[in-house]
Amino acid sequence: MAMPSSQQVLEALGGIKDPDLGRDVVSLGMIKELEVSPEGKVSFTFELTTPACPVRDRFKSQAEDAVGGIAGVTGVEIRMTANVRPAFLRPKPSEILPGVKQTIAVASGKGGVGKSTVAVNLAAALSRSGAAVGLLDADIYGPSVPVMTGSRRVPQQVNGRLLPIDAHGMKLMSFGQINPSDEPTIYRGPMVGKAIEAMMVQVDWGILDYLVIDLPPGTGDASLTLAQVVPLTGVAIVCTPQDVATDIAVKALQMFRKLNVTPLGLIENMSWYVCPECGHRHEIFSHGGAEAAAKRLGVPFLGAIPLEEGIREDADSGTPVVISRPESAGAKAFVAIASQVAARTSIQSFRQLPVINVH
């Protein structure tokens, strides 16, 4: 039998479409190092846009089926890898965060909705999937990430630059570490911008696939400044079923839209719980509100997280639940949301901008 050609293999793989990017995986450049041996063994690298790809397994089996079905193919070997692509072709080389490919902000309309819990677990889930992840706690009012990750240490300085703390394999930096006293610092107006810029420029982040940023709550000065100083791929907004009802989350979303920060979507936290008495899932009053609001506002709904005692306990003891209890419903919810967020950021990197001509 004739040996199958690379062309045939690529044609077969061209039938596989990336559901998020809306194009086939061959034209997206995801198929690399394709080889066909004289015996009909086909091997190639399938390069995903994120290790947290929600359709990783589906892609692999689709590719095996597509290539395996070509006449003359006697074996298929697929190496699944991932390469996160930078979100922006920056207009000028950025001094701010030069090695960081994607910056994901986590925001909320008000405090106490679980924004930091989500930021920490989102970062941990991306990190567990194999990505290089940094976590910047930019909540200058109540930095809680050092406690949630068990890393209340003062960062070291090398050649005038601060080294992020290693926290469960993530690179962590927090206002709580730079200023570890119990007195809260009051930052105002331009100081906020300066302080935040320092976190970007003076910290040696190195090469990161994702930098997750825990923003200050609300739509005040601090979050405004931050969104203007940091080049953000997008922002994920955390809310509880209650504050969707009161439109607080919607206000936050609208503020980011005004600042031209792409909304990655809404996350509903403390959405349902498993009753310790009867073991059943109980919905929280007005649960599902975020999903409905997302639809109404034309932004993606990224997922819902249960109210789970373990989530709080593990945060208090310094290990994010996705690491300490990966089998729990809460951890699974975070992992699913991380995949959604990663998929949304990949879309940003593949967006081609229109060409504008003004006469």
Binding site: F88, N260, T262, H359
Partner: protein
């Protein structure tokens, strides 16, 4: 102004058309009260000449007119709609 879209389609806009389409709160009105564009019949020449166009974020253009009016953010989706309904 001309825009060539990702799919190759082209849209052309006159400055006048863009000015009358300005989506800002002042022009459109807010909270039920009518905006400036519904209250005036004509605009001065300086209001109808484009001075500058800048890309904001990845989804919109900010268009500044010679009169100094620059508060309108024209999202690409809005421009796409505007361009095809008004093709020439």
């Amino acid at each position: 102004m001309e825009i060539t879209w990702e799919d190759g389609a082209q849209s052309t806009y006159s400055a006048e058309q863009l000015r009358w389409a300005c989506p800002c709160a002042e022009c459109r009105g807010e909270g039920g009260s009518p905006g400036r564009l519904s209250r005036v019949k004509t605009l001065s020449d300086a209001e109808l000449r484009v001075q500058d166009v800048t890309l904001v974020g990845q989804y919109a253009l900010q268009i500044a007119f010679e009169s100094g009016h620059a508060t309108g953010l024209y999202t690409f989706s809005m421009l796409r709609r505007l361009g095809t309904t008004d093709r020439r």
